[in-house]
């Protein structure tokens, strides 16, 4: 019983982070900060939802599949963010908020 | 136990399909793959002829693939017109291969030839697959096999213009095939089956509904695109002009007729009876388009400056005749269209073989470059002229027989028929003009450029093919019994008792 409630709580929390991420993508000023917001969705949101689903399904083959998906996301999502930010930086997209930093700390 | 004899209907498709991958990996700069492809084509041709004898004796041959019964598995259903088309396709392939023995090296570098010959076999197998199958979706699959391979063969042409031509062909062909698929989808939605005979039976319940009508429209549109019916013909002259000449000879003889064959199946065996009053609307539209096709096609052919292009637009016109015959909806019309499919294959293959010979010797197919060629290559140009006579429809040639039956069929339909007959005669006159244009330049204009090679007559292999085809034009012009009996029995098969 309590496992179910825990699962629902996790699902709700995951959905919350997904929404937060979406709002962040809309509201943030430039690419890097937006990516920061979207990685909330990618990692926290999706992980919580998948863990919630794993709790709901119990010990079945689906749980293993969900676990595999989670591990896959765990590896690929940060790397994808990294690659995107890297590509943006290399192709000359300047962080907007960098002007607020002192001169010597700018990228 | 099934004997080899029982397996012949499937061998006619699978033999080239089995040979194609082997040809693709054969070593030996084009000659060994050529030999292999030729053997496969020749065997297919023989099988097609033996099937024709069988169909003439026993009627339509069914074949269950995987031994699954009719609407659940795929069946082949080989009728009289199917075998006629199979003979045309494999014969054209054989003729084209002999033309390429002498003419391919000039246009396609030998290292690229093995893949080209593999595609050649795939085109042949795909086209034969379309004409033999009795399953609506299977037609789509084989359509794709043959068209993808055709795009590749066109793209292998010697000039850079071959590439945009091939791309245009690809876009139009994919569109056509997808429209066909949509039509099949609508039919399937309303009936739940894909087998042609079963479709026809079950469409009776849902006849006259809008989706069936739309299905008919999409099928005709798709097949019209594939078959280069008038407003959708733009890809064809380009493809014929820029493809390697032997390939053009092969394609011109058969590739646009196969969609027309499917059109016969769709119109007469699937949706035809179930469209109600819309059926007449549909065939009326198609007839209008076909009439415009043979007038406009001939007209553009007169003004074209490239020999292959002239013949390409002439094909547009000839397709107009065939579609007209098909859409008449009478047994005589269908017979005429079937005969013309066969005869047109004979004459176009001969004409393109002659063009290939000219291209081998002069390196150009522009009409102005042909000046004086009649004296340098007398046998080739004589063959061209005789095949041209057949194209015009002079008595004693195959072209005359097909026009004769077409006009006879048209006169049956009443006063409109007289008008159509006049238009057909007009179009034939235009054919006289464009063939004469070539002959005039070839025989009566002084040579402009000296051809360096001392041996000026075409390669022997091309000459043999050319003359066999020319003689066949006369043979079937004098004694058309073989084609006529097949065409008539097809008409009887699909329309009941011949009227």
């Amino acid at each position: 019983m309590w496992i179910e409630w825990l699962a629902y709580a996790l699902l709700a929390a995951g959905s919350f982070f997904v929404v937060v991420g979406a709002i962040g993508v809309l509201r943030m000023p430039d690419l890097y900060t937006r990516m920061h917001a979207s990685s909330v969705t990618e990692m926290l949101g999706s992980m919580l939802i998948i863990i919630g689903l794993m709790l709901l399904t119990g010990w079945t083959l689906s749980t293993f599949k969900l676990f595999a998906i989670m591990m896959f996301l765990f590896f690929t999502a940060p790397v994808a963010s990294y690659a995107m930010a890297n590509a943006a930086l290399l192709s000359g997209v300047k962080p907007q908020l960098a002007d607020e930093l002192p001169e010597e700390k700018r990228p | 136990m099934m004997s080899l004899y029982d397996q012949l209907p499937i061998l006619v498709i699978t033999l080239p399909l089995l040979a194609a991958p082997v040809v693709a990996v054969l070593p030996g700069r084009g000659k060994l793959p050529w030999l292999f492809a030729t053997i496969a084509s020749a065997l297919t041709f023989l099988i097609a002829i033996s099937l024709a004898c069988r169909v003439m004796e026993n009627g339509t041959i069914p074949y269950l693939l995987g031994n699954w019964e009719a609407p659940y598995g795929i069946v082949l259903s080989i009728g009289p017109l199917s075998v006629l088309m199979a003979i045309v396709i494999s014969g054209a392939s054989l003729a084209g291969l002999f033309v390429s023995l002498g003419g391919m090296d000039k246009e396609v570098p030998p290292p690229h030839q093995p893949l080209l010959y593999a595609c050649w076999l795939l085109v042949m197998a795909g086209l034969i697959g379309i004409v033999t199958t009795g399953d609506a979706f299977n037609v789509f699959v084989f359509m794709e096999v043959s068209s993808l391979a055709s795009y590749v063969m066109v793209a292998n042409g010697p000039n850079r213009q071959a590439l945009p031509a091939s791309f245009k062909y690809l876009v139009t062909g994919t569109f056509g095939a997808t429209f066909y698929l949509i039509g099949v989808g609508y039919l399937y939605m309303m009936t739940g089956t894909l087998n042609m005979a079963d479709l026809s039976a079950r469409l009776a319940d849902v006849a006259d509904t809008m989706p069936v009508l739309i299905a008919g429209g999409f099928l005709m549109l798709g097949l019209g695109m594939k078959g280069a019916l008038f407003p959708m013909h733009a890809w064809m002259p380009n493809a014929y002009q820029f493809a390697p000449s032997p390939v053009a000879a092969f394609f011109a003889a058969c590739s646009t007729k196969v969609p027309l064959f499917v059109m016969v199946r769709v119109l007469y065996e699937i949706v035809g009876h179930h469209l109600g009053s819309y059926g007449e609307l549909l065939s009326g539209m198609m007839m209008t388009l076909s009439v415009i096709a043979f007038i406009v096609g001939s007209l553009i052919a007169i003004y074209s400056e490239d020999l292959k292009r002239v013949l390409g637009y002439s094909s547009v016109a000839q397709i107009g005749y065939m579609v007209l015959g098909i859409c008449l909806g009478t047994s005589a019309g269908l017979t005429a269209a079937s005969i013309h499919m066969f005869n047109h294959a004979l004459m176009k293959a001969a004409l393109f073989a002659a063009v290939a010979a000219v291209v081998v010797r002069t390196g150009s197919s522009k009409i102005e470059d042909l000046a004086g060629i009649g004296k340098k290559m007398p046998l080739t140009m004589l063959g061209f002229a005789l095949a041209g006579l057949s194209l015009i429809g002079v008595p004693l040639t195959a072209g005359f027989i097909s026009k004769w039956y077409l006009i006879k069929a048209i006169l049956e339909i009443g006063p409109l028929g007289i008008f159509l007959t006049i238009l057909i005669l007009l179009s034939s006159l235009m054919a006289v003009v464009y063939i004469w244009k070539v002959i005039e330049v070839a025989y009566f204009k002084p040579t402009k450029i000296e051809i360096p090679d001392a041996r000026t007559e075409a390669p022997v292999s091309i000459l043999i093919v050319l003359w066999i085809l020319v003689l066949a034009n006369f043979w079937f012009g004098i004694d058309p019994e073989f084609v006529l009996s097949l065409a008539r029995s097809e008409a009887v098969d699909v329309l009941g008792v011949s009227k």
Binding site: - | V141, E144, A155, L163, P164, S166, F175, L181
Partner: protein, 120 residues
């Protein structure tokens, strides 16, 4: 008159027309290929929309009598599996031809190529 049950078919039509428009109106060869693949995938949607049965499952026997009661129609799925493969085959070939066109002409815009062909 259950119109919502037709939503799939409306989207199919929309995609069909978007694809057709792209092929007719666009000048760029790659864009046309993209349009062509949208056009084809619209047809996939047409077939797959047909196969759904309300309350059914995918056509795989699980040995469970409850879920094995109603299946989606497997036949359209088979047809579309083949059609998807046809689609990618055509796209790949089209891209290869486009690459060659770009090498020979230096452009992949149809109007440019037509101009160059007219000059030669």
């Amino acid at each position: 008159m259950n119109l919502l049950g037709l939503y799939n078919y409306w989207v199919y039509l929309f995609l069909l027309l978007v694809g057709m428009y792209t092929v007719f109106a666009k000048n760029n060869y790659v864009k046309r290929l993209i349009g062509l693949s949208i056009f084809q995938s619209a047809v996939f949607l047409l077939f797959i929309s047909m196969d759904k049965v309300a309350g059914g499952t995918g056509p795989i026997f699980t040995g469970n009598p409850v879920t094995d009661a109603v299946f989606a129609n497997p036949l359209p799925q088979v047809l579309i599996l083949t059609a998807i493969v046809v689609g990618i085959a055509g796209t790949a070939l089209g891209l290869a031809i486009t690459v060659r066109i770009r090498e020979e002409y230096g452009s992949i815009e149809e109007s440019d190529i037509r101009k160059m062909d007219d000059q030669s």
